[in-house]
Every structure is written in C-alpha cells, then in structure tokens.
C-alpha cells in the first residue's frame, strides 16, 4: 500500500514537474472561490438550527438547538401556508418544465430532421425570443390574462413559461447530433409513419438531452420571481420565491421572525441543491456532442 502511494506520488510529481511547479496557486484560488460560494449556504444551514435567542447570542458558526422548533413554527405559520408555497412551486416548476421539454424536443426534432419551406424563418423567429427582455412581456401578459379572467390563477404562471426559445435551440442541436438520418430512412422504408418515428425512434434517442433541458427549465421556473410576483395576488397560489419575499417584507422589522425567514430560505433551497448534486452528469451547456458523458 505504502509503495503504491509512493509510486503514485512519484508519478504525480514527475508529471507535474514536466509542466513546471505543482499547481498550488491555481488550486488555492479555486478553493477560495469554492469557499466564497459555499459560505452563505453553510451559514443559513447553521442559522436555521438556532432558536430566536441563540440567533443573536451564540457564535455565527456554532449550531443551535432549535431546528425542529423552527420547522414546526414555519409549517404552522398562517395555517401552513409554507406547504402551499412549496406545493405550488413544485407544480409550476415540475409541470412547466415537463411541458416545456416536450414542446422543445418535438420542435427541435422537426427543425433538425426535416427540410421544408419556412424552416429558417420559423427557427429565426423562435430564437429571436431569446433576446426579448422579460420586462416587455410580463405587464401585457398580466393585462391579457386579466381580460380572460385568469390573472390570479395557477395558469397565469404556468402557461407563459412553457415556450423557452433557448431550449428549442438546444433541442435542435441535440436532435441533429443524436438521431442518425439513416435510422429514420430505414424506418420509412419499413413503412413506419412520421408520428411513429417521432415516438419510437426520435424521442427515445433524445432522452439524455431532454433531461438536461428539463433540469435547466425546472431551475429557471423554480427561481422565477418577476412573473408570479406580477401575476398573483392570492398568497395561497404563491411559489416559494414570492412567499419568501412576503415573509421577509413582513418580518424585516421583527427580529423574532428572523429564524422563521432563515428556516424558510434554507428549506426552499434544499430540494434544488439535492436535485443538482444527484443529477451532476446532466448539467451540460453543450449538447452538440450528441451524448451526455
């Protein structure tokens, strides 16, 4: 064992030696960046364990004893409205991302694998949507939803977030790389219809790319604040972001509510961090390789 380690260390030194001194400075710089990024998350984890008294009296980096009391108090806050916020967020992010991925995948496949009049015009129009700032959309969307009586409803948050131009762009790139033309042609020679090819050939091959698109869209909707903030008035329909904001606006002047706010913030980032850590290999911004490695 010792010899193996020594040999590895020797090889490592030799390899590093051939390229100058060992990367101490680069490693240290990256670790500083990592600590900077982890610090607030670690701090809120610790702060969420403290009782209101401990929050102001104990050292910043020592755990408290009030975590379960905080959670209990948060869930009891205004008849458990926090549960509603969590459920709404899951509905908006999960449902929205699912629909968005389906629309993007089918559009991307059509744009990548068919030649038809108007293809470039349609693609450019859809992609142009990337450059439209959300601000020109949110207010008219609110007014239009009010006109049909849907402004303060789940639909008002769900529907506008289904179309996501960048996802269509990613899906087109992925479809072009992951679906061989020969496979489609073979299917057509065997008499398969286009709908059958989409469902049985194209979509299964696009699954890894679709997972990536789903994840990015899920996070984007989960994190969105402006749209639900504008659309919704009834706090029973709020997602966590707007709920946390109202909690903060109500409790900023009442230090006794701080532990509630911090616990809420902590609980609202846990699911995303868990999703993020378990799905590591799908977080890719480049789908052109046609495979998620």
């Amino acid at each position: 064992m010792a010899t193996v380690t020594a040999a590895t260390a020797h090889r490592r030194r030799a390899r590093a030696g051939s390229r100058g001194p060992a990367g101490l400075a680069p490693t240290a710089l990256l670790l500083v960046g990592a600590l900077y990024c982890l610090f607030p998350v670690a701090w809120v984890l610790i702060a969420a364990t403290k009782s209101p008294g401990e929050l102001f009296s104990t050292s910043t980096l020592s755990f408290g004893t009030g975590f379960f009391d905080n959670v209990g108090e948060l869930f009891a806050y205004r008849d458990g409205v926090f549960w509603l916020w969590a459920g709404n967020t899951l509905l908006y992010a999960g449902g929205g991302a699912l629909l968005s991925t389906a629309v993007s995948a089918v559009s991307g496949y059509a744009l990548a694998k068919y030649r038809f009049p108007g293809r470039n015009v349609i693609f450019n129009l859809l992609i142009g949507g990337i450059l439209v700032p959300a601000v020109v959309l949110a207010i008219p969307q609110y007014l239009l939803f009010s006109k049909i009586g849907l402004a303060d409803s789940h639909w008002a948050v769900l529907l506008p977030q289904i179309l996501h131009p960048y996802s269509i762009y990613l899906a087109r790139i992925y479809a072009a790389a992951a679906i061989p033309d020969s496979l489609l042609e073979a299917g057509r020679i065997d008499g398969a219809g286009e709908w059958h090819l989409l469902r049985r050939v194209a979509m299964p091959l696009m699954v890894p790319g679709m997972v990536t698109i789903f994840l990015f869209q899920f996070v984007a909707i989960w994190n969105n604040f402006l749209l639900p903030f504008i659309m919704l008035g009834d706090d029973g329909k709020f997602p966590l972001t707007v709920g946390l904001y109202t909690l903060l606006a109500a409790g900023a002047n009442q230090p006794t509510l701080y532990n509630l706010i911090l616990t809420g913030a902590f609980l609202s980032i846990v699911p995303l961090i868990a999703l993020f850590l378990t799905m590591q290999r799908y977080w890719k911004t480049d789908l052109s390789s046609g495979a998620v490695k």
């Binding site: 390229r19 100058g20 990367g23 680069p26 710089l29 990256l30 600590l35 900077y36 990024c37 982890l38 607030p40 998350v41 701090w43 809120v44 702060a47 929050l55 910043t60 629309v103 089918v106 559009s107 059509a110 068919y114 293809r119 349609i122 859809l126 949507g129 450059l131 439209v132 700032p133 601000v135 020109v136 959309l137 207010i139 008219p140 969307q141 007014l143 529907l159 289904i162 179309l163 286009e194 996070v219 989960w222 994190n223 604040f225 966590l240 707007v242 903060l248 606006a249 900023a252 701080y258 911090l262 913030a265 609202s268 980032i269 995303l272 999703l275 993020f276 890719k284 911004t285 390789s289």
Partner: protein, 294 residues
C-alpha cells in the same frame, strides 16, 4: 408522393411552439407597443361615464420616459452596478474555467461543484441570505469588517456581490464546457514549442473561447439591465433603496402602484431597446476587434 405526404408533419410538430410564441410573445409585444402609444384623457371633471377616454398620443409617452429624471437616475445606478457585475462575474468565471481546465489543479471536481452550487439558489433566497449576512445584528462579516454594508455608499457593491455570487458558476460552466470540447493535442503542440501554461491560456484558449465569452456577455447584459429581484428583495432590510432604484422597478411601480400602464409600457420598451442596442453594439465592437471584420 412520399415527400408530399411527409410535407405537413414538420408543421404539425411545430404547431405547439408557434401557438405559444403567438400567444405569449408576439401578442404581448404588440399589446405593449399599442399601450405605449395611448393615454387616458380626462374631460370635464373626470366624473361619470365617458369622462375618461383612451386616446392615441403617438410617441408622447416615449418622450416623457426619456425626459424623466427619476428614470435617468435609475439608469445611472444600474450602469454602475451592471459594469461592476459584468466585469467581476465574467472575469471570475473565465479565471475559474481556465484554472479548472489546467491539468495541475487538485480538488477540481469539488471546486467546480461548489462554484456552480449558487446557480441552484433562487435570486430571492440568495438576496435574503446575503441581506441577513449584511445585517449588523447578525453579520459575521461585520465582526471582521467595520463597514455599514447596507449604507448609501456601499449598497451598490453589496448588491453586485449577490449577483456575482449567483451568476459566476453558470458562466464558468458555459466556458468550461467549451474548453473541454477542444482537442487536447492542440495544447501538446504548443507545449512542444515551449509555451507555458499561462501562454497557452492567453494565446490558445482565450481566442478559442471568444464566441462563448461573447455569448455569456450578451446574456449577462440583458439580465443585468433588467435587475429587479435583488433590489426589491433587499428593500425591506434597508432604507437606501428607493422604489425606483432600477428602471424595471419604476416600470413595476408605474404599472401596479400608481396605475399608469401607458408610461409603464413606454418605459419597458425603452428598457428593451436599450438592452438590444447595448447587446448588438457590444457584438459589433467585439466582432471588429476579434475577427477583423469591417
């Protein structure tokens, strides 16, 4: 025969996207432009039916938006804030991506995951975390650094820090993914010629990264000009942020607090136009410099 049968399918597959595009993008944009050119006209005392009518006023609302001093102050604040965020965030993203890609770094996987982690934290939660970290009664930072982090002179930096923290990881990932796609033997050739890691980074990697850097910069410009979540969320914790701190906050106030939809629509179009001009202007400048195109 076979081709013409296939003819309608791509349109059918694109129908959902086109319908959504029309309903939630094209129609709202058109409606904003329509609203921006109208205004309520009050006749007489403004009482009774028909006393308030909506009239066409052309570009009056745009002229008013361009002459609005409060809005200009907002632009100046966002310009300072945005320049700071773009420079620090993209600079750090590039530095981290290059460091991760260099062969000699230890614990690279841990650092990469840790730096990308804030991407999973919603803007509201990120602002809330940092906001509490800035609070004098709670802040561990204040134990080391004796500055009022929520004061008038520091609020821009404090807010920029939240944006940098939340955005550096995603931009790093975009650049890092691009770097990983470059064939390794390109560097070997440079190394055989006696180039150092630093020279390879500056002379080989950064030029290859240029398109990705341009892309992330343009997206960051668009996002930064629309800054709304961070200042809105910080407001309850400090009295240095006005309700019109950023242009988008003023749009929100006009539309939903004072109820002046027409001004709000005109201002939002001005914001969109400025972000497009800045993005395309940036693209042009960089293209000319980087690729020597006229």
């Amino acid at each position: 025969m076979k081709r013409s049968q296939r003819g309608m399918w791509p349109y059918l597959f694109l129908t959902p996207a086109i319908v959504l595009f029309t309903l939630f993008l094209a129609v709202p944009i058109g409606y904003t432009v329509y609203l921006a050119m109208r205004r309520t006209k009050v006749s007489g005392l403004g009482l009774g039916r028909g006393a308030r009518t909506e009239v066409f006023v052309g570009f009056d609302n745009f002229a008013a938006a361009l002459a609005d001093a409060e809005l200009w102050q907002g632009w100046l604040r966002v310009l300072g804030y945005g320049a700071l965020v773009l420079a620090v965030m993209l600079g750090l993203a590039l530095l981290f991506a290059l460091l991760l890609d260099s062969a000699r770094v230890r614990l690279a996987r841990f650092s990469r995951i840790a730096i990308f982690l804030p991407y999973a934290v919603p803007g509201v939660a990120a602002t809330l975390l940092w906001g509490f970290l800035y609070l004098p009664s709670l802040s561990p930072i204040r134990e080391v650094l004796d500055v009022d982090l929520l004061g008038a002179s520091t609020i821009t930096y404090s807010m920029a820090n939240v944006a940098v923290w939340g955005g550096v990881g995603f931009n790093m990932l975009v650049l890092y993914t691009t770097l990983r796609a470059i064939p390794r033997d390109l560097y070997e050739a440079a190394r055989l010629d006696g180039a150092s890691e630093f020279q390879i980074a500056v002379r080989v990697k950064i030029p290859i990264l240029t398109p990705a850097i341009i892309l992330t910069t343009v997206f960051s410009i668009i996002a930064t000009i629309q800054v709304f979540t961070e200042p809105t969320t910080l407001r309850p914790l400090t009295n240095t942020i006005s309700s019109t701190w950023s242009p988008l906050m003023k749009v929100y106030r006009d539309a939903f607090v004072t109820g002046d939809l027409y001004s709000a629509a005109a201002t939002s179009i001005v914001i969109a136009a400025i972000s497009l001009v800045l993005s395309f202007g940036f693209l042009r400048v960089v293209r000319n410099r980087a690729f020597g195109e006229g």
